[in-house]
Amino acid sequence: MTRRIVVVTAGLSTPSSTRILADQLAAATAGALRTRGEQVQVDVIELRALARPLADNLVTGFPSGELAAAVGLLRQADALIAVTPVFSASYSGLFKTFFDVLEPDLLAGLPVLMAATGGTARHSMVLDHALRPLFNYLKALPVPTGVYAATEDFGNTADGALAGRVERAAAELANAVTAAPIATRPRTLADEFDEPTPFEDLLKA
């Protein structure tokens, strides 16, 4: 069966070190899944291109055009790789806005690999102090290893450097995707439209 990996990347420049890290994580995860005999499809959501629709969504309450398509990708995802630059000691506002506008429970039960980039390694705890609580709140399943890349990591191939962390995190994500689900994912709004809760059940509740 084809495993669908969705990559959400909040880098702003071109080229973006956030996107470079995202691509490395996606390639490593796809490789790890193929090694396990899985077929893989990767879709990348560049949040920069969705900046205006995201701002509009905050005001209007609905996703328009490309943003609606991006949310649709996430609805079908088997795994999420989420990568943000560090802004003011946390994820960027653009990154957070994307997760703010998702309908409740959309990420529930979804394996997530968290990653972040920054100018120096001093901000690496942002993974566990900012991103992990966010994904825990969203009832997603973040894998134990988060990947932080500082500028210096992109020029460092020494032991324990970036490539090793990427491989470890990708393997954890691949395992989470192929493992038996810990719990069935909760019903989302889309499920409710496909198969509504019978009114007799609503009356009894």
Partner: protein
């Protein structure tokens, strides 16, 4: 097909003058607007229910609707919406039945939950119970109108023993009920289960969303055995602003759009028009766009327009209604074209009474 207008009763400063109407000016203007609706040939006037600024909509819509009933002859008086969550269903049963008697049956109502969090605790409720409240309260409301003596116990209000809601509905026919919801499939399910009407706000969200909500309601209406999906009773909202020329309409409406509490700071007027059913333009554009709504909801029963919003002065609103009156014949003709004969009209007091008499006669024959 019924056409009408609905108001939220917002007291908003006119962005072109900075002046807000007083509460009395806004309330009296609402009555003028309703009278004008009848004058230009509309079928329905509906008011929102509000309990907080910046609104001067009635906290209990029958207060306003009774006043309008006394000054009109034909207009059906309705709500958009009556809060089924925070109101006591006993008071809804009694006040709307009373209004039926005063207005000779020119009443229906649209139930909604209300999406303003603080309103719930003001009435001893919790917004997180919104759906269960809507379900329990409506189940009780139906019984209060249909059974002369009710014994009842539920989760959210005092039990009732041997209770008779008075006055009884006019001619023993409860007012027709629409269920309004912007986004909750449970409410479409509720409307379908009872065979009631379903109303889609159709203002703030894209057509694709309305299609999904109405589609669910129609499918479940058939599932519950009330008829085929295309016989379900559907109402749509919509917002329009017209001038003879498109450019004049856009130029005049833009400051109201840009400053509106619900719109400002988001997409441009042009983007919002392409993303949602909002139509600002010539009367012909409004006719074409409105007739197009059928393409994604099927033939439907009631089209309501929002015209008195965001600080538009009364004079402008009345001009809008004059223009709406001009295109009304074309809208009626357009919606009649290709409408299958088995698609019903929206129920009225007279049609429900006739149905009831037919059922009684049938029963007597057996």
């Amino acid at each position: 097909m019924q056409f009408g207008i609905f108001t939220v009763g917002d007291v908003t400063p006119d962005p072109t003058t900075g002046r807000a109407p007083t509460e009395q000016e806004r309330i009296k203007a609402t009555v003028e607007i309703a009278k004008k609706a009848e004058e230009i040939g509309l079928d329905v006037f509906a008011t929102g229910e509000h309990h907080n600024p910046p609104f001067a909509a009635p906290a209990n819509p029958p207060v306003l609707l009774a006043n309008i009933a006394a000054q009109t002859e034909r207009l059906i008086l309705s709500t958009a919406t009556t809060l089924i969550t925070t109101n006591d269903p006993v008071r809804i049963a009694q006040d709307y039945a009373y209004l039926q008697h005063l207005s000779d049956g020119r009443v229906d109502l649209m139930l909604g939950r209300g999406n303003t969090g603080p309103v719930y605790p003001w009435f001893g409720k919790d917004i997180r119970d919104g759906i269960p409240l809507a379900i329990e309260n409506y189940a009780l409301l139906r019984r209060l109108w249909r059974e002369d003596v009710v014994d009842w116990e539920g989760k959210y209000r005092t039990p009732l023993q041997g209770f008779t809601s008075t006055p009884r509905p006019l001619d023993g026919v409860p007012p027709f009920v629409w269920h309004g919801s912007i986004r909750s499939p449970e409410i479409a399910e509720q409307a379908a289960y009872y065979g009631d009407g379903f109303f889609s706000n159709h203002i703030f969200w894209p057509a694709s969303h309305t299609r999904q909500m109405v589609g669910l309601y129609r499918r479940r209406f058939e599932h519950y055995g009330h008829g085929s999906a295309d016989e379900a009773i559907v109402g749509l909202g919509g917002q329009i602003f017209m001038r003879r020329n498109t450019q004049d309409a856009v130029r005049e409406f833009r400051p109201y759009f840009d400053d509106a509490p619900v719109y400002g700071g988001g997409p441009s007027l042009e983007d919002f028009m392409s993303q949602t059913p909002l139509t600002v333009g010539s009367p012909q554009q409004v006719v074409e766009r409105t007739l197009g709504f059928r393409e994604y909801v099927g033939d439907y029963q009631r089209q309501m327009f929002l015209v008195d919003h965001a600080g538009l002065p009364l004079k402008t609103v009345l001009e809008q209604l004059d223009l709406l009156g001009e295109i009304l014949p074309e809208l009626r003709k357009g919606f009649e074209a290709d409408r299958p004969a088995h698609v019903p009209n929206a129920p009225t007091h007279q049609s429900l009474l006739a149905d009831q008499l037919a059922e009684t006669t049938e029963g007597a024959d057996q």
